[in-house]
């Protein structure tokens, strides 16, 4: 019981800084959504049932630019490709949950929940409860803030409060302690290189993260194998 309480407390504390940043994006989504053809009910329903910052912001931007529903669906399907990778990487950490719970927990797979969940699973092994609390915290932050954003309009500036910094800084705090051993460091360096090259060659390319996530671990595997062969 104490372990469960401790897990809930840890999950909540670790997800709070990101939840604040998610809320800032939620406000932006809410504000932008009401400037398109989406009603307040549509705006809130999308947060309740889609629950994806990147997908929802792209939908709003495309609708505002007059895109067709078909092109919106194709663009979001491409955006969602990385969820397959996240799900596969998180599967082992969620494997202790029943199938029904896994189905529910899968709804919480996102960039931020993936980062916290995978860091936790690597340190402590499978922990569906931790992932559930993290996902629920993000979900509440997202739907509440998108509702407030849709109601109050553009009176909050995330840049002024440094909320845009919260994502990369939290990710850095999670990444640095994991950088141990040549294969891991090589993986991170290759991911950085791929991202920089792709961002300069094709700015804003939605495949950047997917390509870095798929290709860089192959270099890690190669370095690991070479180290083993040299032993």
């Amino acid at each position: 019981m104490n372990n469960k309480k401790q897990t809930i407390k840890t999950a909540f504390i670790e997800s709070l800084p990101l939840a604040i940043a998610i809320a800032a994006y939620g406000l932006s989504y809410g504000v932008l959504a009401t400037q398109t053809s989406l009603s307040l009910a549509n705006t809130l329903a999308m947060s309740l049932f889609v629950f994806s910052g990147s997908v929802q912001l792209v939908v709003v931007a495309m609708l505002a630019a007059g895109a067709t529903a078909t092109s919106v669906l194709i663009a979001t399907a491409l955006l969602n490709l990385r969820n397959l990778l996240y799900g596969a990487a998180l599967a082992e950490g969620l494997s202790h949950a029943t199938r029904k719970w896994r189905g529910l927990l899968s709804f919480g797979v996102s960039d931020e929940a993936f980062v916290l969940g995978s860091a936790r699973f690597q340190k402590h092994g499978p922990d569906p409860l931790y992932f559930g609390i993290v996902a629920a915290t993000f979900y509440l932050a997202w739907i509440t803030s998108s509702y407030i954003g849709a109601v109050i309009g553009g009176q909050v500036d995330p840049l002024k409060w440094g909320l845009d910094l919260a994502f990369p800084i939290t990710f850095t705090a999670l990444l640095i302690p994991s950088l141990r051993g040549k294969p891991v460091i090589a993986t991170a360096l290759v991911a950085v290189t791929i991202t920089v090259i792709l961002q300069y060659v094709t700015p804003g390319n939605e495949f950047t993260i997917i390509l870095a996530g798929v290709l860089s671990p192959l270099v890690g595997l190669y370095v690991s194998r070479r180290a083993r062969d040299n032993e």
Partner: protein
Amino acid sequence: MNNWMLIALLSISTYLSRVIGVEIMAGREMNATLRLYFNYVPIAIIAALIVNQMLVPTDGGTVFSLPVLIGCLATAITIKVIHTFLPSLIIGIAAGLLARYFL
């Protein structure tokens, strides 16, 4: 297509993309190489996400965000030295904000 239909299709496609990865791999015995590969995937994605947020796409190009870089560096050094999560975040955000207003 009306907005409700679009939201329904977005909800289904997004959920499927999430659940497929989890369900295909859940409960399966991974071979050692695949397991090692998936151990490196989070490192690659987190590193890519950090750099991705330092590089801001603009009209026809990419701009490097110095405040994000300084904030991340301050966080990296702090967590390496004091090994504590929350103070590292606070120092990183403070450093990033200072860079934004003074550089």
